[in-house]
Amino acid sequence: MKKEPIIELSHVTKIYGEYEKSVIALNDVSLKIFPKEFIAVTGPSGSGKSTLLHCMGLLDRPTEGKIFIEGRDVSRISGKDIAVLRGKKIGFVFQSHNLIPRLTVIENVILPGLIAGRKRVELEKKAIELLREVGIEHRAKHRGAHLSGGEQQRVAIARALINDPIIVLADEPTGALDTESSKEIMDLLEEMNKNRGVTVVFVSHDPEIARYGRRRIELVDGSVTYDGVNR
């Protein structure tokens, strides 16, 4: 399993604000993420978990340090190319308000593909396949707004996979769900990781949920305090 890392963070520091008001959200974080890993990011609220995911997901640039995606130094890539790279290589699942409510389920799923400039027909075929895998194929033509929270997250997972990303980043994917649905979603992510071999990094402050991760990264005040096998 240990070959070339797909994402590498090298001495990444992220500081918000300036001078005395500044907040160190990430403090000299170095880590490598390898293919097919299933990683839980844990830590108390405000410890920098979301910031870590945003940096990994190229949504934010670190104040210091370097990020490599498949060996490429991201700091050398221009803003618009970063957007394209992000769309192709990274799938996101957010906590809530994930779907665009006026679009149908299938339209939501193919959206990242359309942004990447892929053909609609091909995307729709793929979307149906993914929706079947997440078990929500029967609601493909429904509007996003009409789905329950758990169903919405299933759709979000299908959407995250539409461009065959190298990694799926999920920030508190169960944060807005009840225990039952939370389990279902985590089972689904685990299944995707096993069957499709997609790397998953998810954030949770809930130890029950965090237990799903095979590897665990713990953050406290922006620093990595644990990085290893999840027990």
């Binding site: 609220s45 405000g46 979301s50 945003h54 997901g57 949504l59 934010d60 803003g79 618009k80 957007a83 394209v84 790279l85 992000r86 769309g87 192709k88 996101f92 957010f94 906590q95 809530s96 308000h97 994930n98 665009i100 006026r102 959206l111 990242p112 359309l114 942004i115 990447a116 959407r159 461009n163 508190e172 944060g175 807005a176």
Partner: protein, 480 residues
Amino acid sequence: MSISRSFAWSEIKEHKLIYTVIILVIAFTMASFLLENAYINYMMQVVNETVKNVTADVIITNPDCDVRDLYGTETTMKNAGEIARLIEERFPGYKASVRVTAQATYGVGLANESADGCTLQGIDIHDDVMVESLKKKIVAGRFFRDDDPILRGHTPLYIKINAPGNLPDIVYGAGQRLLREDEPYPVIVGAAAAKVHPSIISVGKELDLYICASARGANYASIRVKIIGLYESGTPTIDAMIWFIPADSLREIKCYGKVKGRSWIIPGIGSFHGFNPIEVDRNMGDAVIVKVPPPSISIDPIGYSEEVKRRIQSIVPDLKVFSWHDLLVYGAGSMQDVVTILLWGSMGVTLLLCGAAIKYVMDSIIIRKMREIGSLKAFGARDRVIFKIFLYQGLFIGSLSGVLGILIAILVMKIVNWYGISMQFIAGTQLKIGFVVNWFTVAISIILPILLSIAAASIPAKKAAMLPPVEALRRGEISL
């Protein structure tokens, strides 16, 4: 459909009420701008044609004349014919005519008909620059003919008063009594004058005219005329004022020629002569009018008019040259300029307000759709894609309102033309309302709303595009 366009479209659908209001406001603004412009253009065309009807592209007079004199009180030019010939020689394609004019009063002494005035325009019935256009405007009776009694070979009753004062009694009605055996001069009268004085003006009727035959001084002649035709220029004011008479008749009346015989001095009043033999001198007139071939491309009619004026002035440096534009400005031009500025001003203000409304609506969309924008960015949408979502909305609003504005304007013009709506004008006459569409204003009506709404949309569009994705995503997150 691209992502930007489909997202723009769904925003438009979601905000259809407010966008419809904005579009309608812009459309009606542009429509009224177009209509008012077209109406002013039409009015200017009427004025323009009218001005050309009594004048021409260029008028040459003695240096002591001003614009007001062009309506009948020019001072005598002894060599008018030579000047006309010179101009035709020097500028091939130009046509020059000698104009003879006078001020006349009629209806004096008639029961129940107050006296009224008119400008007598002498017209060379074969070779005048405006014979053809006048012929086309005859609405009753006919144009002049060679067998009309244009010349009599003697002067009419003619009194020269040396000082300002009351006209002596002898003038009143004198023409009728003393010239009984002379046939009346033929005249063509404006249709509006006929409506104002139906009992004395109609085809076939005869009446007396008292003519002030000199511009500076007080030479009066009394003549009898017969109305052979009525014309309608399209502008009742002109029809009420301008009468046409053969130029040679007017030369005879004004004593432009060699007069053989003597006159009598009346002590304390002036001189008096009548019935002296006269041979009219075609070289004499009151003004020379020039008709100029139209420019090959008429982008700048005013510039062309001024250019023609300069050209002609160069060969008659000692005379006064009026361009068509001078006359237009005198007639209505400055009024048009002011109205046009007001039109543009009110249109501009409304458009700016609509622009502000567009910006405000889009700002609120951005705040509400922050997370959506963040998601799109997370899915790889470039800034340009987000920018275009808002730009397309602006483009849609702008082009739809522009097109709608033009359609509304066309509709109104069609309705007005269909019903032939007219406006009450002087003395119970009607002035038809018409439109002359200027392509420039049509272009403006479509381009300006588009430019404006794109400009208004680009401010929030830029803001949305520049939004850091992380910030956009953190909005609406339940907990950090």
